[in-house]
């Protein structure tokens, strides 16, 4: 008997008890759909977050004070006394590192910004002009913070779109004075609208010169220095080396700061989110195994019910392997068709959910489809072998006598 005929016969046998076969298949459908769906959630989250990270600007390097071990060891902890990062460090990088496209010192805090009787609690960032290029955030109306503003410690402010809308509505804010903390700042520009990045509204922010920022937050150090490396090849590596050379030299030969590249950050988060995806797939896989147990259960019942059929077939010349194959094909058909339906159901849900909830990132990846399909095939074999072997080992005389 060739395979096609064996499959046709198995389909007929399964069709003879439709409801039972359908319910058994449902176990696999749910398992496979769960795998596809949860992997889609995990992959979607990873693609979303890495996408957002790369949206920060390209070839970004972040320098933060304190040496943190970001790889290996038992978590992060600072070692020894640390120098603070200062504006002089940023200026030294700007002057001396030829591998860098731009350097932007950052001081940052949350402050209340007031205009007339309106106020808004928002993020205040102290920086200088290169910030626009490094972070790919640009002023739309008026000017950004200039070098002169920085050098003269001028109290000028550039408003993010959200802050402008909240405090000024449709009015033109340029030239107006807003109060931040204890100081009054003159509005010189308004930023382009950018929306959300990594869940943070980057329009809900104001920019002031880094020097007046330090006065505002009463500090002589920096929160971090953002650096953009030049494009191409191993520039990122060279840039990191330059940064370390320059700052270590300035910090009495101590590496008391941390250089994190955007790509390293993406790699780390990507890895974490991959693990998340695997964990989700594993949990969903459990339900697929339960579906497999359902197949085994129903095949055992089926073998029992069809004992006489097995006896007849053996009397007519069926060998052990013929009977084994017959029952094995039935369980594989259950699991494979369950797998196909599960892929359609799971994929369908995963693709249609973002239509209803646009913010929900979902990615149906080929590997999850292939894995789920292959896995369901092997579930069919694994849980089908035992019942099929039982059938094939039946003694024909006993089987023929079975009522």
């Amino acid at each position: 008997m060739n395979i096609l005929e064996a499959v046709t016969e198995a389909v007929e046998a399964l069709y003879a008890s439709k409801l039972r076969s359908a319910l058994t298949m449902l176990g696999v459908v749910i398992g496979v759909a769960a795998v596809i769906l949860l992997v889609a959630v995990g992959e979607g989250a990873r693609n979303y977050i890495t996408g957002e990270l790369s949206g920060l600007g390209s070839n970004i390097i972040i320098i933060t004070p304190g040496k943190l071990e970001t790889k290996g060891g038992f978590g992060a902890y600072p070692v020894g006394t640390t120098h603070k990062l200062t504006l002089n460090d940023a200026e030294a990088l700007d002057r001396r590192a030829h591998t860098l496209n731009g350097v932007a010192p950052i001081v940052l805090g949350t402050m209340t910004v007031k205009f007339m009787n309106l106020s808004r609690n928002t993020t205040v960032i102290g920086t200088w002009p290169e910030f626009q290029q490094v972070r790919n955030l640009h002023v739309e109306i008026g000017d950004f913070v200039s070098r002169e503003d920085v050098d003269a410690h001028r109290r000028v402010v550039v408003l993010g779109r959200k802050v402008k809308e909240q405090l000024f509505a449709d009015a033109d804010p340029l030239g107006s004075l807003v109060t931040i903390g204890d100081y009054r700042y003159r509005v010189v520009g308004i930023m382009q609208k950018k929306g959300h990045q990594l869940g943070i509204d980057i329009d809900d922010v104001v920019f002031i010169p880094v020097t007046s920022g330090q006065e505002l937050f009463d500090t002589d150090s920096l929160f971090e220095i953002l650096v953009q490396a030049k494009e191409g090849g191993d520039r990122l590596y060279l840039a990191e080396r330059d940064i370390k050379d320059i700052i270590i030299h300035r910090h009495a030969n101590r590496e008391d700061f941390t250089v994190t590249s955007q790509s390293a950050l993406m790699e780390t988060t990507g890895n974490i989110l991959n693990i998340l995806t695997y964990v989700l797939a594993g949990i969903a896989g459990i339900s697929l195994v339960v579906g497999g147990v359902g197949i085994m259960n129903i095949m055992l019942v089926s073998v029992k019910e069809r004992t006489r059929e097995v006896g007849i077939r053996k009397a007519l010349g069926a060998k052990q392997r013929d009977i084994l194959r017959q029952f094995l094909i039935e369980s594989i058909i259950i699991s494979l068709s369950g797998g196909i339906v599960g892929i359609l159901v799971g994929g369908g849900i995963a693709l249609s959910l973002p239509l209803i909830f646009p913010s929900l990132p979902m990615t149906v990846s080929t590997w999850s489809v292939v894995t789920a399909f292959t896995f369901s095939f092997f579930v069919g074999i694994f849980f089908g072998v035992y019942p099929a072997r039982q059938a094939s080992k039946l003694d024909p005389i006993e089987a023929l006598r079975y009522e």
Partner: protein
């Protein structure tokens, strides 16, 4: 000799007691014979049928079927032998309920690896031979008892076996269907089919040319009727 049994014994272990179902019997059957095996229940008829039909093996003794020594064969070789040399007809017909008459007749040909088209032709011819050409697409539950048994006979003969083995073939049939089946057996026997039939009905046994009577696992009598 088509069949040669020599000092066949079959012992069952029931708990600690061993039961001698067959206690040493020897006989031969030539090609073209029509033999009835009779005996009261417990006489060993069924055990003998199972051994002749290669469904069971003797505990001791030798059984030669068409030149091969059956006692020494493994399960798969026995299955092959059943497929090629023996056609079974059972008291309860034993058709596969999901399949049409035609498909039922095709089953043994599947296991003989006959190609699909050939299989169909042979099954159709066989159904014609038992007078059921017009019932080929009916399922067993749409056929009368007599018709079901005819399908079973067609299935038994479709592989052109050396031996037709029937176990109480009329046991589940009314008298007139039973007579029709026996008439069919005689017709087949006249065409050269060797038939061995177990029955406990004297009337049915009389259709056979030779009657072997068993008692307590031994041959009580072996008579050939002279016409």
């Amino acid at each position: 000799m088509l069949i040669r049994l020599d000092d066949i014994r079959r012992t069952y272990q029931v708990g600690t007691v061993s039961v001698n179902a067959l206690a040493g019997l020897s006989f031969g059957i030539a090609a073209g014979e029509f033999v009835a095996i009779m005996g009261p229940s417990g006489s060993g008829k069924t055990t003998l049928m199972n051994i002749i039909g290669c469904l069971d093996r003797p505990s001791s003794g030798s059984y030669i079927l068409d030149g091969s020594d059956v006692a020494s064969l493994d399960d798969d070789r026995q299955a092959e032998l059943r497929n090629r040399k023996i056609g079974f007809v059972f008291q309860s017909f034993n058709l596969l309920p999901r399949m049409t008459a035609l498909k039922n007749v095709e089953v043994p040909l599947h296991y003989a690896n006959v190609p699909a088209a050939d299989r169909r032709d042979r099954a159709v011819k066989m159904l014609e031979a038992v007078g059921l050409a017009d019932r080929r697409s009916h399922r067993p539950n749409e056929l009368s008892g007599g018709q079901q048994q005819r399908v079973a006979i067609a299935r038994a003969l479709v592989t052109t076996p050396t031996l037709l083995l029937a176990d109480e073939p009329t046991g589940n049939l009314d008298t007139s269907s039973g007579r029709e089946i026996m008439a069919l057996f005689q017709q087949l026997n006249e065409k050269g089919v060797t038939i061995v039939m177990v029955t406990h009905e004297q009337e049915i046994a009389e259709y056979a040319k030779r009657t072997i009577r068993l008692r307590d696992g031994k041959i009580e009598s072996d008579e050939t009727r002279t016409p």
